[in-house]
Amino acid sequence: MIAAAWIALFAPAAAVVAIALAGTSITRSVVGFLAAGSALVSFVCSVVVFVVLLGENPEERTHSSTLWTWLSAGDLKIGAEIQIDPLSVFMMLIVSGVGFLILAYAVGYMNGDVEERRYHAYKALFVFSMLLLVEAGNLVLLLAGWGMVGLSSYLLINFWHQRATAVAAGKKAFIMNAFGDATFVLAIFLLIQRTGSVEFDAVFSSGVVEHGSTAAVLIALGLLGGAVAKSAQVPLHTWLPDAMEGPTPVSALIHAATMVTAGVYLIARTNVLFELAPAIQDLAGILGGVTILLAGLIALVQTDIKRVIAYSTMSQIGYMFVAVGLGAYGSGLFHLMTHAFFKALLFMAAGIVIHALSDEQDIRRMGGLGRAMPFTHRVFVVGALSLAAIPPFSGFFSKDSILGAAANAGTLGWILWTAGAIGAFLTALYTFRLLFIVFWGEMTPFAREHLHLKRFEGGLAMAWPVAILAVLSFFGGWLQVPWGWDLVNEWIDPVAESAAEATGTTLVVSVVASLALAVAGILLAWRWYGRISDVPERARKRVPWAARTLEHKFYFDEAYDLAFYEPASRNAVFLTQYIEQPLFLAPLGELGSSVRAASRRLSSLQTGYVREYALALAAGLAVLAIVFILVT
């Protein structure tokens, strides 16, 4: 079992090395199969580990294995260590399973691209990094995986590096993530100071820090900073929409299903430390709630198909943050799983549409594609219903698990419940707005001209992973049913004890209310976008300031620009002009020119006249004779 876990970790890494070394001596499709195949190997190994763990008693389900001591400094020893317990296996299955499906889809999507090999290598690198992150047995190795997923994200966002917007987006993502990494590292330093170790058992043992002490608050704050940056929550969220510059499978894998959920995983893994600083855990929940609303509102006015889905991702991760913020770790992870299914599905369906319209992403140019692309239309509906949390689709069960936990968590819980309920309304509204605009109504002239379809609209290579994800989006939610069973909570319990969910009347109220709001959202979307209607236009004219704020994404980008970029660039200009130039560059230039002048003067001694040289010799001899007399 341990061997299987190590193989699962290193299979994608081996694929990266193989692809890099083989270079152009293997065909492009072989490269794609290598990458996807390695993900499949990881998935199979993860299943093996899962099955073995199932057979054990819940208390004994924690194993760890160290390959070698990676870092040794004084008393601090950090090993290349993996930890196999319910939480890591849960994440491994999601990462490798959904990763395999998306990698297989990408073989079809990126077919024919000029730099296809580099793409598959980076994808495999990402899968390896994410697996490292979830399998790590100590915080430093987790940080290593954390940084590497950031790197893979950067590499894949500006994959089409000839586009200036893509390069800028990659930089933005990396820099914002770096901020989170910095706070994360500071938290690790504090922990090392307190415990002298970074292994999970040592760090999570009781008595490390006192409940509510400053140290606890700082550590939790540092961890939260990292999680917020990685998961694109307010206030470090502005990089995610820009990250849509990368190819669609990248958006599906990294910015929907796996990397952005790493923050949730981190909080679940270090729940002991968060529970020692309840204020910060509440802060996590609040940030999640704010993000749910903010992202939901912005998504209402987006015109790029991928950006709508990106803001939807942001919003759904807000739900997960609400869950872990209130201590309902099982629910948060359950939603992580179902979200991976239906969000990847939505992105991949959007990718089929984009491919069919020759890389057009503006939904104002799309319309009426439902009749022309039936398969895509159907899977998109499955994904949309799941996202909007309509039973019996998976999203319903996971979202209601979270709302049920929120309803049971006191005043803050009810505030966040309200945010979640409004969020459910907004989610349904913008999701079905997207569906109706793209797939219903009349076909736009642009679409008529540019549409080109293959079998299953995108070819078989892209269709079968999408189909599997559609099935999972339908059945995946039945792992945890209210008034029935909660398998996910039970599974995660040994690692992170979940808070109890509401029962009885409260639960009924919560479920019915959120379902009603979701259905209301769908109906409103149908009224405004499903039929020809001018209500959106009239609303925009009535409150133009609201429309403008939403379109400018609540002016976050402008604020950050003013607060960080402007001062930094002014500072740089000032330093160049007043310090670097006069203090360093000018003296160097003067040094050079003065040396040149001196050498010019010296070279004038070489007149070329032999007699003058001879005279110099004779004069020197005369002088030396005098010196000889005087000295001896």
């Binding site: 070279s603 001694l605 070329g608 006249y609 032999v610 007699r611 005279l615 004779a618």
Partner: protein, 102 residues
Amino acid sequence: MPGPGVAAYLILSVILFATGAFGVLIRRSPLIVLLALEIMLNAGNLALIAFARQTGTGSGQIFALTVMVVAAAEAVVGLGLIVAVSRRHVALDVDKLTTLRG
């Protein structure tokens, strides 16, 4: 030893050396410069022989003979240079041969 002492020979050699040096420094024809150079070498030879007589060893004479050989060789090469220069129709004037100017 009959006649003036070794010191007189040495003073003679010094004056001859100075004359040769003066000639090297002041003449513009490379031929004359070479001749003046020969004079300087001979002055050195005279000093060597004088000291050999003073100490009574024969090494000074050996040294003087070697100097003679070297001076002859140098005269050969110098004259060859002068011939080559004149063959290229360049003026035989030391002040005009300035291509080594820095």
